[in-house]
Symmetry: C2
């Protein structure tokens, strides 16, 4: 084995990515330098944030350069190491990208213990998405027993973590998801009190009416990861003193420069601003990379619950590096069910 | 004296209030019942929030009923009392409305000690507006020395309190006000580092460029009381982790149903939402009536600073009840300088 494969950003998408925005390339297998570790990946993660990295817009992280490898966290087996902390055969997590192999400084990698469960958990329920749900809910949601929480993408790795944690804390939890199958999964697998299929409602007004029925005491926490129609439906139902941890807005990710003019011809900002004032809401934007100093606490708290089956997770696995772009494009449209992973 | 005068809401305004929306009426002087106190007002307060009370829209407080007395806090001398805590000659503050006299239960009144400074301070710097600035800044702004704060309506009773407190805590403070005279006052009287005249800039973009010059290290706290063009100018300049205490949006108060479609034809909400996410902002809506349990702390902390001249205040006094509507309408357009008061 002297070669590796990876997928590069062939061009910047306009709107929703298409196949031509990606290109599968072959490259020489890297030789690890001082302190570096070479890993043969078994799986990598596909997450909505990667859509943002494809745009050349100023954001909290640098965009993927044109012809650069698409960004992703992955797991795999160490096949060569110049770092004392890693030996061949170890299983490691790192930001290797959409690739068959990766070579990174050992200090940027995290060793996984396969005894703690499937290694893919490090990409989802016990990785960045699960950690995002935990940190956002606990730090900014400030959940209290008896309150009502709403989260969309309910069967995704963030939404399902938020919902299950909130249920375990005694909240009423209402999910929103795309399609009857996911809604059933939110209730039966993840224990949500109810889950609404946003596709069954023509507009925000219809969705709001259904949400109002499902939330007779209003909404205290809206964990925001989708925006768009769901945000519009939720806002008027927020209770006084409500909290909105805001970590994503997938409904708007495909609009080119994120956030530019995706709405209608009516400026909704004054209405939002008024709602925040009148309802005394607390809106907290957060980026999970700011919180990694608490990752150890997260693993300690949530790891045993995952191992014990108290927190469940669902994965959607695409097989083969060449199928990553299609899986990614489908995910942005809600075509996946559970944490989207690529297996190599 | 057997009669009193008061101003009632004659009809609900469409957009900016006009003279015909108000009516001066004469009524018999009330006779205080059990536990009630009759006060002859010397001054009452005009504040932007009163515009919201004129609309029949669901909000955090009930609207003024048609033909009901316009709401206001006022101060004056007790002329009759059936409450053991008040005697004729005492000076009291209460929500008497736009009126020459008022009769309220003694338990709803606060006795003022004229030795502590002019009684009008209870309407501004040591009343609801000053308290709004203090509570919003300290609880939600979380100011730290070396940071940069921006506040508009800089010479108003909220903005001038926020700016002076922030200066005393070691922040760089940039004001925004309407007109060169107010800008000069913000710097010379209130000690702001700089103050921009929003009228000197054609649009949000031009104002933003000037703000960027005045805030070379970005903006950490935007104390929001105006919205509109200022909000649009400020948002892109917010630093990561910035805070926005949000207590008002006077730029949008005259649009009938507050917050409905005052913006342009582009939906600015996605851009705002993106900024909150990318910059990890914390937006806190608050209504000062939720915080009155801390009013004693406020008086204890800020009262001595006002008495000692460390916190200064400016009042704009209209004379005569009949001139209250004109003064109120002017204030909504920024025609006042300092705390707007009506003297009787």
């Amino acid at each position: 084995m002297t070669e590796m494969q990876h997928i590069v950003l062939a061009r910047r998408p306009e709107g929703a990515p298409v196949a031509e925005d990606f290109r599968l390339e072959t490259a020489p297998l890297p030789v690890p330098g001082d302190g570096e570790v070479l890993v043969k990946l078994s799986h990598f993660s596909l997450d909505p944030y990667m859509r943002g990295r494809m745009d050349d817009a100023k954001s909290y992280a640098a965009p993927v350069p044109l012809n650069g490898t698409m960004e992703a966290g992955g797991v795999g087996e160490v096949i060569a190491s110049n770092h004392p902390g890693f030996a061949p055969g170890d299983i490691a997590f790192g930001m290797f990208g959409w690739a068959s192999h990766g070579c990174l400084p050992g200090k940027e990698l995290r060793k996984l213990d396969p005894a703690h469960g499937p290694v893919t958990a490090a990409l989802g329920v016990l990785g960045m998405p699960g950690f995002t749900g935990w940190a956002g809910l606990m730090e900014y949601g400030r959940p209290k027993a008896g309150e009502t929480l709403v989260v969309a993408a309910a069967t995704g790795p963030v939404g399902s973590m938020v919902g299950q944690l909130a249920k375990s804390l005694g909240l009423r939890v209402i999910g929103i998801a795309g399609g009857a199958e996911k809604c059933q999964m939110a209730v039966e697998t993840f224990g949500f009190d109810a889950c609404l299929d946003h596709r069954a409602y023509d507009d925000a007004k219809a969705l709001r009416a259904a949400l109002a029925d499902a939330c007779p005491d209003g909404i205290d926490i809206y964990f925001e990861n989708v925006a768009g129609k769901v945000l519009e439906a939720v806002l008027p139902l927020m209770n006084v003193g409500g909290r909105i941890p805001l970590c994503g807005m997938i409904a708007w990710y495909n609009a080119g420069a994120l956030g530019a003019n995706q709405g209608g011809e009516v400026d909704q900002l004054p209405k939002l601003w008024r709602t925040i004032l009148v309802k005394r809401l607390h809106v907290h934007g957060f980026i999970i990379t700011d919180h990694f100093h608490r990752f150890g606490d997260f693993l300690k708290q949530v790891g045993p619950k995952v191992a014990g089956g108290d927190i469940r997770f669902v994965e959607d696995v695409a097989v083969g590096l060449e199928n990553a772009p299609a899986a990614f494009m489908a995910m942005l449209g809600g075509g996946n069910t559970g944490k989207q992973i690529v297996a190599l």
